[in-house]
């Protein structure tokens, strides 16, 4: 198992280098790891996997019912939904099949529902159903007044966006993939394969996969392609307290308009309630801040959908950037003459589609003349459960009996035990920051945001890293 975060990179050439350890890059690396004949590198500019768009989204496992029929995205989302659902069940990634309700608030929206049902049919999704107001309010008693009906999409699910890329990366690393963190690709050249210059020195690879997310256009340009430009589209979201979770049972979506999918209210697998996202086109790929206007606008929209939600405490606020490219489809392209595959324009559906994208990209790599060699099954993996619908370690007497550390809670709001924090710190891809530890365990992610546990959690992280006072 090789995970590096500093120092020079190996000199020997890799068969494939995957740039970007987001959910898509990790999925590609995992898929390639099934080919024991290949030597794979997964390069990440930041200090952890899943640090970009992957960590800050709406955490929904989409059915693809509302995709644009006939697109690559529609196909990969449909396939990816089935594959990720199965993978999650196998590895213990928390998923809840809560279903979605597209709620119509006026006559025009109600009139649009049958067309959305037809679109779902064209996307191969046959389970939608139209609900009248009676059935709608029976399903969602706390919904604000005035809804006229809804389209029920029972297959829409919620999933943990942090465990998923971590599971892919962990499995990949265990199967021999080299993960190099803090490795930003700055230059690319060709001479007997790819010669990359990175923030940690040179790296050679026979094939290159660009899964750089927001920076996929930048990496593409290093390779001489000007096919698309990524325009970051910011989505701000509010996470409400766990005590709000009983207020909502489904993913509540507005009827989509030309402006986008709109603001949703949804439960999270961690037992919270999500309100968001906004949609703002920006030109700064680092603009992951929230704004007063954004948050006020979300609250206004949330108040109509679920008035009682606004009475609850806000646990977290975040903003993520989607990789919009001005085209309503993924920008996945192979350049066989260069031994290069670009995986661009992967938007909010990327989490759902990730495994199908990985499959597709592997086929494209084979099309560049790469001999994949025989495939094998990867060693099964069980991820730590962060989902409220499944027994967490503190709820498992047999676990505590075997190791009392799982009964010693450090983070009270999220009920995270010292055992889980210890395990995460000793894991195959250990966190380097409190944020990384939070995504692996939920420590400090709760309503007090560290008032009670912050210093104790930091103490455990720093003890694991042998740090006293970081500079």
């Amino acid at each position: 198992m090789t995970v590096t975060a500093n120092g020079p990179l190996p000199e020997a050439a890799y068969d494939v280098a995957v740039v970007g350890a987001g959910v898509v890059g990790c999925a590609v690396a995992r898929e390639l790891a099934r080919r024991p004949g290949l030597r794979i590198a997964l390069l990440e500019a930041q200090d952890d996997v899943g640090q970009g768009t992957s960590k800050a989204n709406t955490a929904i496992l989409h059915t693809g019912f509302d995709a644009v029929p006939g697109t690559l995205e529609a196909r990969l989302v449909r396939e990816g939904h089935a594959r990720l659902a199965a993978y999650a069940a196998e590895t213990g990634i928390p998923v809840e099949r809560v279903g979605a309700l597209l709620v119509a608030w006026d006559e025009e929206q109600r009139a649009a529902l049958p067309r959305l049902a037809e679109k779902a049919e064209r996307n191969g999704y046959h389970e939608t159903r139209l609900l009248g107001p009676g059935e709608l309010y029976a399903r969602e008693p706390r919904l604000g007044p005035g809804a006229l009906g809804a389209l029920h999409v029972p297959g829409e699910s919620i999933i943990c966006p942090w465990t998923t890329p971590l599971a892919y990366a962990t499995q990949a690393v265990r199967a021999g993939v080299d993960l190099h963190l803090n490795t930003r690709v700055t230059q690319a050249g060709r001479q007997d394969g790819h010669r990359l210059l990175t923030s940690r020195g040179p790296l050679r690879a026979r094939r290159l996969v660009n899964a750089a997310g927001l920076h996929a256009d930048t990496v593409d340009r290093l390779l001489g392609h000007e096919d698309f430009t990524v325009t970051p589209r910011r989505g701000q979201l509010l996470v409400y307290d766990k005590l709000a979770r009983p207020l909502v049972r489904h993913i509540l979506l507005p009827v989509p308009t030309a402006l986008g999918k709109g603001v949703l209210v949804a439960p999270t697998v961690h037992g919270n309630v999500l309100l968001g996202p906004t949609a703002e086109d920006l030109d700064d790929k680092r603009a992951t801040g929230s704004t007063a206007d954004g948050l006020a606008g979300l609250r206004d929209q949330g108040r109509r959908v679920l008035p009682a939600l606004l009475e609850e405490e806000v646990t977290a606020v975040y903003a993520g950037l989607r990789a919009a490219t001005g085209q309503e489809d993924y920008r996945i392209a192979a350049h066989p003459e260069q031994g290069y595959v670009t995986v661009g324009g992967i938007r909010s559906t990327g989490l759902t589609a990730s495994l199908a994208i990985a499959d597709h990209v592997t086929d494209l790599l084979a099309g560049t003349g790469l001999d994949l060699g025989p495939a094998r099954d990867l060693e099964p993996l069980t991820m730590p459960n962060l989902g409220e619908a499944f027994p967490r370690p503190y709820q498992r007497p047999e676990l505590i009996a075997a190791d009392p550390e799982y009964g010693t809670l450090v983070c009270h709001c999220e009920r995270v035990s010292r055992g889980e924090i210890r395990d995460a710190l000793a894991g195959p891809i250990p966190p380097h920051t409190l944020e990384g530890l939070r995504r692996r365990t939920r420590a400090r992610a709760g309503r007090c945001q560290g008032f009670y546990c912050g210093a104790a959690v930091r103490h455990l992280l720093e003890a694991a890293h042998g740090e006293g006072t970081p500079a």
Partner: protein, 437 residues
């Protein structure tokens, strides 16, 4: 059974044990007893004749409870309410999330009032290093305290860098763990707790860039505000809000906005959000206890009965936030009521609601049971008041009028009201309202 080993919980436990209430146990989820005073490394605790620091006070309370015979078990987290194993209790609010409690032998606390007595008291699920437990008690005192609203709950926009604290986290980081907290800190708030946060920043060897408050003046006595300004040359920015946090990775500054619209960036690597306390009421809510909409803590009468028979509440879970001494006095008061209940006193009805009119925010206790007169009421105002007069009315009838002590009608300051008007309340009448003129 007492949940929470802070000043209220420890004092209640000490009184109960000393009065021979049987087996008295305190469950505390932290590794050490004492509550928030554990990390308040400043003076101001204890009594005028016996002043002490927070940690000293915490140790003293824990020692007193244990000396009286109470058992304090730390590292044990109370998770939820449950059903007694084998007991046919109706109206259980929720399923046992762990599905584990039932398998464990019952641990009975608060016994000793006659063996073999049928115990139909409240039941709690807890977990600790020893595994899950179902704890059954004849009476429960909730003393779960309060926390400060973090930056997220205050909806302060911006990036999400490291270096963002509440006073509680800052004090623990510095006083319990000796952690590095940066070099230049902005403290948000100008209350007594903000001054304590500033002291902690300085104790950690960092500088305080400024205290920032959206109020027109500091919410501390004049002398303390002057000492902040003059002794430490710390700017106090009034009428100013923190509009945005800046920086990737580590905080690089905060953008502040004055009421008149001017903005500026204060360069800093640490920001401390102080005050704005909220009761830690998760357990109260999980137990479906009636909450007061103003305090957001359990609704209680003057003797600290909650809406659920056998369950009492004391300390800052009732009113965020009062000094440790006030919480301790409530613990003692709850103990008296628990003793009465164990001796057979009937559980009082819901009583008459006690509400406030704006700009008052809340009052505690907030139910009136005629037989349970509190020592006093404590209120908060949402706006500073000059020379206010409090009016207590029931169904339009004036029961009482009172002019509070000067300088107490400030935000985040305890405004008190006597309970001497209790015997004028009509037990069959409507809600009692407190207004201010």
């Amino acid at each position: 059974m007492v949940v929470g080993a802070g000043p209220a919980g420890l004092t209640a436990a000490a009184r109960l044990a000393a009065a021979g209430a049987g087996r008295v146990e305190v469950l505390e989820r932290e590794p050490d007893a004492g509550g928030v005073p554990r990390h308040c490394a400043h003076g101001g605790f204890g009594t005028l004749t016996q002043p002490m620091t927070g940690p000293g006070y915490a140790r003293r309370l824990a020692a007193a409870a244990e000396r009286a015979g109470a058992v304090i078990r730390t590292g044990v987290t109370v998770l939820d309410w449950g059903v007694a194993p084998g007991a046919a209790v109706a109206g259980v609010p929720r399923a046992d999330p762990a599905g584990a409690g039932q398998a464990m032998p019952a641990f009975v606390a608060g016994g000793g009032m006659g063996q073999g007595a049928v115990c139909a008291g409240p039941v709690l699920h807890a977990v600790g290093p020893g595994g899950p437990e179902t704890v059954e008690a004849r009476a429960v005192v909730l003393a779960t305290g309060a926390r400060e609203r973090p930056r997220t709950a205050r909806l302060v926009p911006g990036t999400r860098p490291a270096g963002v604290y509440t006073t509680g986290e800052l004090q623990q980081a510095v006083h319990l763990f000796g952690q590095y907290v940066g070099t230049r800190a902005v403290v948000v708030g100008a209350e007594p707790v903000s001054c304590a946060a500033a002291e902690t920043v300085r104790a950690a060897g960092a500088g305080v860039v400024a205290l920032v408050t959206e109020q027109p003046r500091a919410q501390v006595p004049f002398q303390q505000a002057q000492s902040a300004r003059l002794w430490h040359r710390t700017p106090l920015l009034t009428d100013t809000t923190v509009a945005e946090l800046l920086g990737h990775g580590r905080l690089s500054g905060v953008r502040v906005r004055h009421r008149d619209g001017r903005t500026a960036v204060l360069s800093c690597d640490t920001v401390v959000f102080t005050g704005d306390f909220i009761p830690d009421h998760e357990l109260a809510r999980r137990g479906a206890l009636a909450l007061d909409p103003g305090t957001r803590g359990p609704a209680v009468d003057g003797s600290l009965h909650t809406s659920r028979p056998g369950v009492f509440a004391a300390g800052n879970v009732l009113h965020a936030v009062e000094p440790a001494g006030a919480a301790a006095r409530e613990g003692a008061r709850a103990a008296r009521a628990v003793l009465g209940f164990l001796a057979g006193a009937a559980w009082p009805g819901p009583g008459i609601p006690l509400t406030v009119e704006a700009p008052l925010r809340w009052i505690a206790p907030n139910r009136i049971a005629p037989a349970d007169r509190p020592e006093r009421y404590v209120l908060r105002t949402a706006a500073p008041l000059g020379r206010p007069v409090l009016h207590v009315r029931q169904d339009g009838r004036l029961l009482h009028r009172e002019r509070p002590a000067p300088g107490t009608a400030l935000l985040h300051r305890a405004l008190t009201l006597t309970a001497r008007w209790h015997d004028r309340v009509d037990p069959g009448g409507g809600e009692v309202r407190v207004s201010v003129r």
